[in-house]
Symmetry: C2
Subunit: 226 residues, 2 copies
């Protein structure tokens, strides 16, 4: 079935990575795809704009269907190919609610304190930075990460983020953890997160979708003081 | 079943409104709820924080289950109570993909040019505003609204945002259209959007969930130049 699919993607983009993880976990390895360069603004190419007028990645097709929002793609894959590959939304009442809650809760990790730190460091020259402002952001980032650390601890050994199995919540959570590590987060301060990160790094879907440019280029160490 | 549910909400918040629309459409009118005041920071009350450590609204319970992210709540309601009230995610392959795509695509309307205009006008004193910057934001907002206008036009008379029936996409799209109108958008420039807005204003779920403080307080006219 993978031959009906086509994905335009960018390296290191969390929504692209989530989409690729879902494709791998649903058993669509070998789907057709094209890596585009954000720095060359290739996502604004005409062939992409035809499918996605905002020129954003991921841009995805399955047959004639165009779906461009990562969460829509992943839920579509789970719905449409329910019995193929790994089931990413559990059947149980409580398990399903938790997987959905964590899947969307990930947004708080992405657009909360991490984004504030990133924006502040990118837009404020070093000599103008106010350590108090930074410390406040770092403290908020630690609180946010602490919530996720506790979720894992409560589940216990071998935890995934919404229970004892890999679910759609991990599809969206893992890329953000990996980005935090790349940006210098001292993840050993969060032992359950460290264990989770290490375990998932070995997962075939993660290895198959690891951002290629990360292998050669180190990330800016923006989170090493968190 | 509505008696198993409890919702903490704030007036005029798009995710709260979407949750309330889904509850009404799924036939849970009369669910227990508590309106909290953002201006008094009541979302940081201890009883909310116990359920939602970030102190955000909506905060929702169904029996023992706590779900706080609006999209998780709405998808949970549709999944768990599939046969109750209106079906919000269609069964058909294409219809389902489109409803999911539009549901998540709404984020572009919320966090794109509209937010830029809001941020610029809130943070820049009138005497320091650069008309060129504003014009660029206004132009981007017109482009974004133009996409949605075309979606409705392509569907034709009586269109909802993902087809000929009300779906989960409308649950998330309508509150943003209504907010644009409240903020002074001259919606008559977008005839299909105007028709959509007027039709949905008459919908019982919309009337039952209309932000109460809007009835007495006019909104700041931030979008009247779009």
């Amino acid at each position: 079935m993978a031959e009906t699919m086509f994905l335009y993607w960018g390296s290191g983009s969390p929504p692209c990575w989530a989409t690729m993880l879902a494709l791998e976990e649903k058993g669509f390895s070998g789907y057709r795809n094209k890596l585009l360069s954000f720095s060359k603004k290739e996502q604004k190419r005409e062939d992409v704009l035809k499918l996605n007028p905002r020129g954003q990645l991921p841009t995805f097709k399955d047959g004639d269907l165009v779906i461009n929002e990562s969460k829509a793609i992943c839920l579509y894959l789970e719905n449409q190919y329910h019995d193929k590959g790994l089931q990413l939304i559990p059947d149980g009442h409580k398990e399903k609610a938790l997987a959905l809650q964590r899947m969307f809760e990930v947004q708080n990790l992405r657009s909360g304190p991490m984004e504030k730190i990133f924006m502040y460091l990118s837009s404020t020259p070093e000599e103008n930075r106010d350590q108090k402002v930074l410390d406040e952001h770092y403290s908020q980032a630690r609180n946010e990460l602490g919530l996720w650390e506790n979720y894992l601890k409560e589940i216990g050994d071998g935890a995934f983020i919404a229970g004892t199995n890999f679910t759609m919540a991990d599809v969206f959570f893992f890329p953000l953890v990996a980005i935090c590590v790349r940006l210098g987060l001292q993840i050993e301060k969060f032992p359950a997160l460290l264990d989770y990160y290490k375990r998932l790094c070995d997962r075939p879907s993660v290895q198959a979708s690891w951002p290629p440019h990360w292998k050669d280029e180190p990330g800016p160490k923006m989170l090493n003081a968190v």
